[in-house]
C-alpha cells in the first residue's frame, strides 16, 4: 500500500474532529445543566471549552489546506478533506450555540423557575446525540447512521414547535412570565440549530461516503 504517510495525516484529521466534537458535546450538556439544574458553577468551563474549540477550528482548517496543497488528493480522499473542512465549520458554530444557551441561563438564573422542565431536556439529549452520531458517521464512513441522524432532526423540530406553543400559553396567561418564557424559547431555538448543524454534518458524511450530494432533497429516510 502506497501513501501511508498521507493516510496517517487523514487519520490525525479524524482524531482532531472527534476531539472537537467531544468538547462541543460537553459544552451542550453543561449549558443545559445551567438552565435545567440551575447550576451556575458549570458556566466558566463552557467558555473555556469554546476557546479550545476555536483554536481547533483554525488548526483543522490548516491541516485540510496543507493536505490539499501537498498531496493533491482525489476521489474519496478529496471528498473527505473537503467534508472535514465543512464539518469543522459546523462544529464551531454549534459550539457557539452552547454559548448562546449559557447567556440565556445567566438571565434565567436571576428569576425563579417558570415551570418544571420536560421538553428542553429531551431536546438537549437529542441534539447532543445527533452531534455525537453525525461525527461518528463522518469518521467511520457510516452513511446509514448519517441518514438516521437526519431523521432525528424531525423529532427535534416537532419538540421545538410544541414548546413554542406551550411558552406562548404561559406568556398569554401571565405577563410576569414573558421574560423567562422568551429566554426559554431562545434556548429551544439554539438547540434546534445545534440539530441543524448536526444534520449538515450527516449530509456531508453521506457525500464523503457515497459521493452523492443529498442537501436540499427530500430523501431523508433512515
Amino acid at each position: 500500500m502506497m501513501e501511508r504517510h498521507f493516510d496517517e495525516n487523514l487519520q490525525a484529521l479524524k482524531y482532531q474532529l472527534m476531539k472537537m466534537s467531544a468538547l462541543a458535546e460537553v459544552m451542550i450538556s453543561d449549558a443545559i445543566k445551567a438552565v435545567v439544574d440551575r447550576n451556575e458553577e458549570v458556566i466558566p468551563a463552557v467558555y473555556e471549552r469554546e476557546e479550545l474549540v476555536n483554536q481547533m477550528q483554525v488548526e483543522i482548517d490548516e491541516t485540510c489546506l496543507t493536505q490539499i496543497a501537498l498531496h493533491q488528493p482525489a476521489a474519496g480522499d478529496l471528498r473527505f478533506i473537503m467534508g472535514a473542512a465543512k464539518a469543522n465549520a459546523d462544529l464551531e458554530r454549534l459550539a457557539d450555540e452552547a454559548i448562546n444557551i449559557v447567556k440565556r441561563a445567566k438571565t434565567l438564573l436571576t428569576e425563579p423557575p417558570l415551570k418544571p422542565f420536560i421538553i428542553i431536556p429531551e431536546m438537549a439529549m437529542i441534539a447532543r446525540g445527533m452531534v455525537r452520531d453525525s461525527l461518528h458517521a463522518f469518521v467511520n464512513r457510516n452513511a446509514n447512521l448519517a441518514r438516521e441522524v437526519m431523521f432525528r432532526d424531525d423529532r427535534l423540530d416537532a419538540l421545538k414547535t410544541a414548546i413554542a406553543a406551550e411558552l406562548t400559553d404561559c406568556m398569554t396567561m401571565e405577563s410576569s412570565a414573558v421574560s423567562r418564557a422568551l429566554n426559554l424559547l431562545l434556548v429551544s431555538r439554539y438547540l434546534e440549530r445545534i440539530g441543524d448543524h448536526a444534520t449538515n454534518i450527516a449530509e456531508i458524511s453521506i457525500f464523503v461516503v457515497e459521493g452523492r450530494d443529498v442537501r436540499h432533497h427530500a430523501d431523508r429516510k433512515p
Binding site: F6, H71, Q72, P73, A74, A75, G76, L78, R79, G211
Partner: protein
C-alpha cells in the same frame, strides 16, 4: 456539430502475438473535447491511442478485432486509405521529433507531400499553423533556422503545427509533455485548451494531475481493460469503481 462521437470504439481486442493488450475496450471520443487516457504503465493506453490511426499496423504480429468508427465509418475496413486516415487523425509523440529541416520546411512538409506547389498558399498555411500552435510571434523572423535547435517545448509545438498544416480532425498525443519541464508543460497544456475549440484531442498521460487539469473526459485503463470512462470531474471526485478510486488517489500497487 452533431452530438455523435467523432470516434466510437466498440469491443476492441488487440493482440501482440499471443499477448492480449486490449480486452473488449469501449470508448467514445466527443468532438472538440479533450479525452485523456490514464492508467499504470503497460495498461494498454498507448496501444489504444495508436489503434485510432492504425499506427499499430506498423508492428508485425498485431491482430485487431472489434470496431473503431471515425465519423461512423470503420477505419479497419480493407478499403481504408491509411494515409488519409493518418492525415485526419494526426499524432504527437512523447519526444518532440521535428525533421532536421528548417522550421518552415517542417510545417510545409505535409503540404508538399500532398502535392501542393503553390508557394503563396503554402506560406499562408505555414503562418496559420504556426499561429495556431502559438509559435508565429516567437519564430516568424527565424523561419529558416533549423527546427532541431529550438527549445523542447517549441519543438513540440512545432510538431503540433506540422500536424495542423494538413488540417486533421483529431489529434492524438502520446505523453506529449513527459520530456518537458513544468513551464514548458503548462505551455503545451494551454495550447491544447486553445486547440480544442477547433480540434478533437485524445491524450495519453502518466500525469494524473494533467488529465484532471485539461481533459473533459477520462478513461482509466488497467491490464488492457477500460475500467471506467466518463467525465473527468466525475472520475476524480466520485469514481464508481474501487480500482479507479485507488489509482486516482495514489493507492495503486
Amino acid at each position: 456539430m452533431s452530438a455523435d462521437p467523432v470516434i466510437s470504439v466498440r469491443n476492441l481486442d488487440l493482440f501482440y502475438g499471443e499477448f492480449q493488450a486490449l480486452k473488449q475496450v469501449p470508448m467514445d471520443v466527443k468532438d472538440r473535447h479533450i479525452t485523456a487516457l490514464i492508467g499504470p504503465s503497460g495498461c494498454g493506453k498507448s496501444t489504444l491511442l495508436r489503434t485510432l490511426n492504425r499506427m499499430n499496423d506498423l508492428i508485425p504480429s498485431v491482430r485487431v478485432s472489434g470496431t473503431i468508427l471515425l465519423e461512423g465509418k470503420d477505419i479497419y475496413l480493407p478499403d481504408t486509405d491509411v494515409c488519409l486516415l493518418r492525415k485526419r487523425v494526426g499524432m504527437v509523440f512523447q519526444r518532440p521529433n521535428p525533421f532536421p529541416l528548417s522550421i518552415y520546411d517542417n510545417v510545409a512538409f505535409g503540404l508538399r507531400v500532398a502535392g501542393m506547389r503553390d508557394r503563396s498558399r503554402i506560406a499562408e498555411v505555414v503562418q496559420r499553423s504556426l499561429t495556431s500552435a502559438a509559435l508565429w510571434d516567437a519564430l516568424k523572423d527565424k523561419l529558416h533556422h533549423s527546427a532541431v535547435e529550438l527549445p523542447l517545448d517549441q519543438q513540440q509545438r512545432l510538431c503540433v503545427a506540422r500536424l495542423l498544416a494538413v488540417e486533421p480532425e483529431v489529434i492524438l498525443m502520446d505523453e506529449p509533455c513527459s520530456a518537458l519541464d513544468p513551464i514548458a508543460t503548462s505551455r503545451i497544456e494551454e495550447l491544447m485548451l486553445d486547440l480544442k475549440a477547433k480540434y478533437t484531442i485524445v491524450i495519453v498521460t502518466h500525469n494524473m494531475q494533467q488529465a484532471a487539469r485539461i481533459s473533459d473526459y477520462s478513461g482509466y485503463m488497467l491490464l488492457g481493460e477500460m475500467i471506467e470512462f466518463g467525465k473527468t470531474s466525475g472520475l476524480f471526485i466520485s469514481p464508481k469503481d474501487k480500482r479507479t478510486q485507488d489509482y486516482v488517489s495514489g493507492r495503486y500497487g
